[in-house]
């Protein structure tokens, strides 16, 4: 028989973006250690509904660690304490009977609270719209094997492309900076041949859009620690290098040497 846990939860409740929020305390009893963290919250909500209370809103969807919808600061850590794991894949066996667990939304000025634990991460979409793509209209592509991509470049590009856009990097950063997300998205495309034509235009535009929403990077490295996909800090260095190059190249292109 699996272990059962009795827990105390302190959960952030907030009506809407312009309301004051506060912590509420809830008891979660008889929680099976085989449950995921979100299933534990499902049970708490089921209890709230039974009593006619308004359930806690939280973001989630695939519950298999790939869609990037789930979030939550759990005891002050984005996605909780387990390495390389999203909240939906965090299981209750990692907690002890009698624990008090503090649950908050991802906090950043660029991620306003929508309600309770749900935040608005659409600033990430604005960064992608600023250049996080390769402009190839449908039908314009030539045979895929006409453009060989060195395996090493392809693999490193994939390491960056594994980012699920959850925002844990921003939530973990003392400056609410989005360098890890932006650099992953940028490196995915800047590292491969297909991404070269727009490389420097993309870099300048994405970085500057990022800066209009998010704080500045001061090399704490908390983002990498919190990242459920373990995106490397090296991509931030890569982005910084490309940004400097972009500033020079883009001026030349504009005839301003």
């Amino acid at each position: 028989m699996s272990r059962e846990l009795n827990l105390t939860l302190q959960i952030w409740r907030q009506e809407g973006p312009h309301d004051d929020g506060h912590f509420e305390t809830y008891a979660a009893t008889g929680i099976s250690e085989d449950m995921s963290f979100l299933e534990m919250l499902d049970i708490v909500n089921e209890g709230l509904i039974q009593d006619g209370n308004v359930p806690i809103e939280f973001d989630h969807d695939c519950r298999e660690g790939i869609c990037g919808t789930c979030s939550l600061m759990i005891n002050g850590q984005a996605h909780g304490q387990e390495k390389a794991t999203t909240t939906c894949q965090l299981h209750m066996r990692k907690f002890n009977d009698g624990d008090t667990i503090v649950v908050e939304p991802f906090r950043a000025r660029a991620f306003p609270v929508v309600r309770d634990l749900v935040v608005d991460r659409s600033a990430f979409d604005r960064i992608i719209e600023a250049g996080g793509y390769i402009s190839v209209n449908t039908g314009a592509a030539s045979d895929a094997n006409l453009t060989p991509v060195p395996k090493e470049a392809s693999d490193t590009s994939f390491d960056a492309a594994a980012c699920i856009g959850c925002g844990a990097c921003v939530a973990a950063c003392p400056n609410s900076a989005a360098q890890l997300f932006t650099s992953a998205k940028l490196a995915h495309l800047n590292l491969i041949p297909q991404g070269q034509p727009q490389r420097f235009e993309r870099t300048e535009s994405m970085v500057e859009t990022m800066e209009s929403f998010f704080g500045s990077c001061t090399n704490h490295g908390e983002c990498h620690e919190a990242c459920p996909k373990e995106i490397s800090l090296d991509f931030i260095a890569f982005m910084n290098r490309d940004y400097v190059k972009a500033k020079v190249k883009n001026r030349k292109l504009a005839g301003q040497t």
């Binding site: 695939c62 519950r63 298999e64 793509y133 190839v136």
Partner: protein, 639 residues
């Protein structure tokens, strides 16, 4: 009976699509901007369609209930995407992919659609690679392939175990590019609640803003539904939590026929539920069956842990029953056999709801390191979820709902029976017949969105140049908004005692028990009695705290579960009327002596498309006959 005109073009199978592309009417490039198109959903099909239509010059409005288009559940597809590139020089061709897909679908799909799918499959790979999708590559920089179930060639392109994620990011980025250009208007956290018709044509939609609760109307010249499948009717499935049938169902209620609802696919290798409150099931790649051996204890009351059960007390039932294919029998056969042994009471695990998938033999033969290099990430995932180490203890697996082949009926242009309303991707019914082959879902979603709909949609639009969209203050919109608002009010005012999830779970149990892996006349009739009773209870005893003017996920779910109730009844009727077994639809009354699916090609080589007759009335069943001119119908055998 309405005439179901599938509009399949004339000519030899390999000429049909070419001929059709030439014969469809075109909209002049400068006139495209005078047309507005609404796309619902931003998975592979929706995002690729919205991006491609906008590139052509159409003005596109796209809606998703997610917070970002990139979250759609296409993202969770693991394995790969098929394409008839023949890069491996092993004899693949468009015709072979076509043949494999028709056969894999157990001869219940439309030949012409499947051939077109195989033809455009090669363009998808080119497009995705140009977008920067990091497909696996060889050392020379060329694309790598692997083989997949149901095929004897290597034609599957893949991106580690995250092919769906990477393809969706490609389509999402293409969409983001068009949003930036200003030619796509993106609405996130917004749900479709009705399709609006004027004079029998689709003229727009009514949506609800999930954050503010605001109900509003949007008009257009065409509406495209790219809203995925209905696997969540089972409550427990490998679908994401929010996957639903609502858009397709609301279109059905407005006149779109719903086809082959009983064709659902069960995946044999998922992690079994641990308790009543399990919210979803996680798929473990089918590739594990290459090296794992499936067994259950011989004894019904076995209490020993697996490592203490000697070989003589184990039943390797697949190896015993199917010596030739063993553990590698097709998905449906493996699934049904697991169900049989668990139903007999030989299930394993704390609640006896799984079978063992044992890697002991291969670890002993090849060593743990070899197994780790092949399946390391899957083993890690299994351990994260169950807390058990599969290198030491056999995995426990059980089948789960994974994909739905049935869906909204469409013609060759992907238009539903509502003129001006289209359905693409998993939301439609056309390409997979009664069973979908692995690595074909991504192919179909992107084929429809990138390379089929952008051509075929012009055929209808071309004749409507100069028509303004119906204004949103037209009575048809006012009435539709009022109906949506009144349904929301009804949910909020029930004031019962049970949560939406409770009803969804109970519905799921009925659907799984009677319309799951194995169906019988008796069971289906039971389902048709139990579902309406539970549905009545739902409308009387639903408890929905909170407000309709804020984010309220309970309210969102209530609308979806209400539609699942109606869908479940149609699934039961469709399964009851289909007196044969084929692909994912297994009627216990119709099996061969070896217990395999037994088709009845004489009487059932057709599509069943159901027409809505109003709430409380049974839908009318229409038939579209399927003709097989290029693939001979045969019986499957895996002995």
């Amino acid at each position: 009976m309405a005439v179901l005109d599938s509009k399949i073009p004339e000519g030899a199978i390999e000429d049909k699509w070419e001929n059709h592309k030439f014969s469809v009417k075109l909209v002049n490039p400068n006139n495209k901007r005078r047309f507005e198109i609404i796309v619902i959903g931003t998975g592979l099909a929706g995002a690729s369609a919205a991006a491609s239509l906008s590139e052509l010059g159409y003005r596109v409005k796209v809606f998703t209930f997610h917070d970002s288009p990139r979250r759609a559940h296409s993202i969770a597809a693991q394995g790969g995407i098929n394409a008839a590139k023949n890069y491996t020089n092993d004899g693949d061709s468009v015709h072979r992919l076509f043949y494999d897909t028709v056969k894999g679908g157990d001869y219940r799909s439309r030949e012409a659609n499947v051939h077109r799918l195989a033809e455009v499959s090669v363009n998808i790979i080119d497009q995705a690679a140009a977008q920067g999708v990091p497909f696996a590559r060889e050392y020379g920089g060329m694309l790598d392939n692997r083989s997949f179930g149901g095929a004897q060639v290597s034609r599957t392109f893949y991106a580690r175990g995250q092919t769906g994620q990477q393809l969706l990011l490609g389509a999402y980025q293409a969409l983001a590019k068009q949003v930036a250009v200003g030619n796509v208007e993106l609405h996130t956290r917004t749900e479709l609640l009705d399709v609006v018709l004027k004079d029998g044509r689709a003229c727009g939609v009514v949506t609800r803003d999930l954050v503010s609760g605001e109900v509003s109307s949007h008009s257009s010249h065409a509406v495209v539904l790219a809203t995925g499948g209905y696997g969540n009717v089972y409550y427990l499935s490998t679908n994401a939590m929010a996957c639903n049938v609502t858009a397709a169902w609301r279109a059905h209620r407005k006149g779109a026929y719903f086809a082959n609802a009983c064709y659902t696919q069960i995946h044999p290798t998922c992690i079994p539920a641990s308790d009543e409150f399990q919210s979803k099931l996680t798929l473990m790649s089918e590739s594990l069956r290459n090296d794992g051996r499936i067994w259950v204890p011989d004894a019904f009351d076995e209490e020993r842990p697996p490592d203490q059960i000697p070989e003589s007390d184990r039943d390797y039932y697949l190896e015993r029953k199917y010596p030739a294919f063993g553990n590698l029998v097709p998905r449906d056969v493996a699934s049904r056999n697991s169900k049989t042994v668990v139903d007999q009471g030989k299930g394993v695990g704390p609640i006896k709801n799984g079978v063992y998938l044992d890697f002991g033999a291969v670890i002993e033969r090849d060593g743990e390191d070899v197994v780790r290099s092949k399946y390391g990430n899957l083993f890690d995932m299994y351990e994260r979820i169950t807390g058990e180490n599969p290198y030491k203890v056999p995995m426990r697996i059980y089948p789960a709902t994974h994909y739905t082949m049935g869906g909204t009926w469409v013609d060759y242009n992907l238009m539903t029976t509502i003129p001006g309303c289209y359905a693409i991707g998993e939301a439609n019914f056309s390409d997979h017949g009664a069973n979908r082959l692995g690595a074909s879902a991504l192919m179909q979603g992107l084929a429809d969105g990138y390379f089929v709909l952008p051509y075929t949609i012009g055929d209808d639009l071309a004749g409507r140049l100069g028509e303004a969209p119906v204004p949103t203050d037209d009575p048809v919109f006012v009435e539709a908004e009022a109906a949506v608002t009144s349904q929301v009010d009804r949910f909020m005012s029930i004031g019962g005692t049970r949560s939406v999830d409770w009803f969804h779970r109970e519905l799921g149990k009925i659907v799984w028990d009677y319309i799951g892996m194995e169906r019988t006349k008796e069971g289906l009739e039971k389902a048709l009695a139990e579902i309406p009773a539970l549905e009545e209870e739902f409308w009387k005893d639903l408890c929905l705290p909170g407000s309709a003017a804020t984010l309220n996920s309970g309210l969102e779910k209530a609308g979806r579960v209400a539609d699942f109730f109606e869908l479940a009844k149609l699934m039961a009727r469709d399964a009851l009327d289909r007196e044969e077994s084929c692909g994912g639809h297994f009627r216990a009354e119709h099996q061969t002596e070896e217990g395999e699916a037994k088709r009845d090609d004489e009487n059932f080589a057709h599509v069943a498309a159901w027409e809505w007759n109003g709430p409380g009335s049974v839908q009318t069943r229409h038939q579209e006959e399927l003709t097989f001119e290029n693939v001979a119908l045969t019986q499957r055998s895996y002995k």
